[in-house]
């Protein structure tokens, strides 16, 4: 196996898929010769040519809209939106067309595609290079939303997304693009199933739910909590939607206490939905009100980024307070 970072692992997943299936095409701003701003598509143009890996003008609505047409005609487009913050000019296409195609054509057509985009804070990018917009898309029926936390999962989840019959938004946490490393079988085909969460740290007293870059903060806070005698179980959602509620409920049945962590603002963030689901499905087991540790209900600031992000320093007190409730 080869040690890879997320960038390399995602690149490898695209190669594997493109070698196997000529329907897969990659498009986006500077994805060709430059290989994308984060170099995720680097070298693909050399192996697969400019017919399959092509630069687009700066036209997010056009990128996703044309990808819909390609999908209807049997291609499997993998559009890249350079930063998740730039997805909004394409919001109409995603919400009005991509998400609804299967339903409104009575299953005749699907606009199956995998929209890849870097997400989240941690690079001092300020307002428009830091946001985590997953909740908008979860609120839109018909879309799947994935966010890996490590290179192995990133490759396996991307390959699973490419083979899934429905459109997937694949959020890549840019803070750990290069920091997270793992053994990944290079050039090999494997999948990590969608909608299956992973217990990354077993424990009995508090369930901590996270995904993407914040998983590492959740683990760090849980390790610190352990020093104070609190035994946390950390769950990596991996697929945010449709969520693996069974793994969560099983954990909550054991712990009775929950902390949800995400970067996006608190109000109507995905944490709100998780807490509702837990209330509906595991109310009798709860020992404390489920708690959220999240970004603030403000735009993402340039400075104060480390205050805005729900880092371990903010997660730990939340764990302590639900533990002693």
């Amino acid at each position: 196996m080869t040690q890879m970072n997320m960038v390399k692992a995602i690149n490898d997943a695209l190669r594997v898929a493109m070698r196997q299936d000529s329907r897969v095409v990659v498009l986006g701003e500077d994805v060709g010769k430059v290989g994308g701003v984060f170099r995720v598509t680097e070298g693909l143009i050399n192996e697969f040519g400019a017919e399959r890996v092509f630069d687009t003008p700066l036209s997010e609505g056009g990128i996703i809209g044309t990808a819909v047409g390609m999908a209807l005609y049997g291609l499997i487009p993998v559009p890249e939106i350079q930063f998740a913050d730039f997805i909004f000019p394409a919001f109409d296409q995603i919400v009005s067309e991509v998400a609804k195609f299967r339903y409104r054509s009575g299953g005749e057509y699907t606009s199956k595609m995998v929209i890849r985009t870097p997400v989240g804070g941690g690079i001092r990018g300020g307002h428009y290079h830091s946001q985590s917009p997953e909740a908008y898309f979860i609120h839109t029926p018909g879309l799947k939303v994935v966010c890996p936390s490590n290179p192995y999962d990133a490759k396996g989840l991307l390959l699973a997304s490419l083979r899934d019959p429905d459109p997937v938004l694949f959020f890549e946490p840019k803070r750990i693009y290069r920091a997270a490393r793992a053994d990944v079988p290079e050039g090999e085909d494997y999948t990590v199933p969608l909608s299956v969460a992973k217990v990354v740290r077993p424990g009995n007293q508090v369930t901590v739910i996270a995904w993407g870059a914040m998983l590492y903060e959740a683990i760090e806070a849980s390790n610190k909590a352990a020093e104070a005698g609190i035994d946390c179980e950390v769950i990596d959602l991996r697929t945010i939607w449709p969520v693996d509620i069974d793994t969560i409920v099983n954990s909550v049945k054991k712990t009775g206490r929950v902390v949800v962590v995400h970067e996006a603002p608190k109000s109507c963030g995905f944490g709100a939905e998780l807490v509702s689901l837990i209330n509906e499905k595991a109310f009798d087991y709860l020992e404390a009100p489920p708690t959220r540790v999240t970004g603030w209900d403000t735009p993402f600031p340039y400075t104060l980024e480390m205050d805005y992000l729900p880092l371990a320093g903010r997660i730990l007190p939340a764990i302590q307070s639900v533990a002693k409730y």
Binding site: D30, P57, L58, P89, H127, W296, D307
Partner: protein
Amino acid sequence: MQDERDVLLGLYRQMVLIRRFEEAAAKAYSQGKIGGFLHLYIGQEGCAVGALAALEKRDYVVTTYRDHAQALIRGTSARACMAELFGKVTGCSKGLGGSMHFFDADNHMLGGYGIVGGHVPIAAGAAFASKYRGDGAVAVCFFGEGSATIGAFSEALGLAALWKLPIVFICENNEYSMGTPLERSLAVADVSQKAVSVGMERDRFRCTDVLEVRDRVAVAVKRAREKNEPTLIEALTYRYRGHSMSDPGKYRTQDEIDERKKLDPILHAEGALRAKGVSDDELAKVNASVEAEVEDCVKFADESAEPDESLIEAFNYA
């Protein structure tokens, strides 16, 4: 009336200030004092300096994330600009915005915008408000040729023409949208042709001679102010650095960059000033005063305080 020699000397100083300011910013970036993304205007100074010389104080300026020049020219102090880059509370957006989000209400700087093209209709709206209030102000909107391919741009152009708005759209064509050369963004090489489809006046010129830029933009500003007619200007220019500090710019050859540098607006102004009898001494004095101003603003930014946590929510609602 100021004579043309003094005017040019003033514009020269503005261009040099922008360049030295940004060189200092680049240095601070490499020292980790500035974070995230820093887009430099170096090479393009002739455009903003010439264009804004055609404006009055009451006019409004809207631009992209490559916004340091416009703020400096409009009158935002070098201190407030540098402090914003450093993310300090003394910055023009309280350190909450950073490089791409310079705002200055006093100087009618309606901002730098990080979403490409999103600001173009906003500028049209400002022009609408000016016309509505009858205050004779003109809006000037800068954007790169990358904006010309996104929907918001086309919508704004159409609205401005339809509603006869007092606005000048200035497309700064620096040949690249990040790593993508114009010929892979647009099927035509002449971006100003976009005006034809909506029945708008247009102009197209290179930004080497800052006085020519001023005069050509002045024609459009007059048209806007006196007749409420919009213009699309394609200003040909070139950025010497990468798209932002994190872009090594490998998609261009050194030969190409060297060629374009021969058209440098500062170099050109220096030649023109000498021809008008300005001495080396006088030029050196201008340069020394710019250097002192830049040194001062870096020191100020360095010594200013970071915003504290109380600011996180302070500006979310009124």
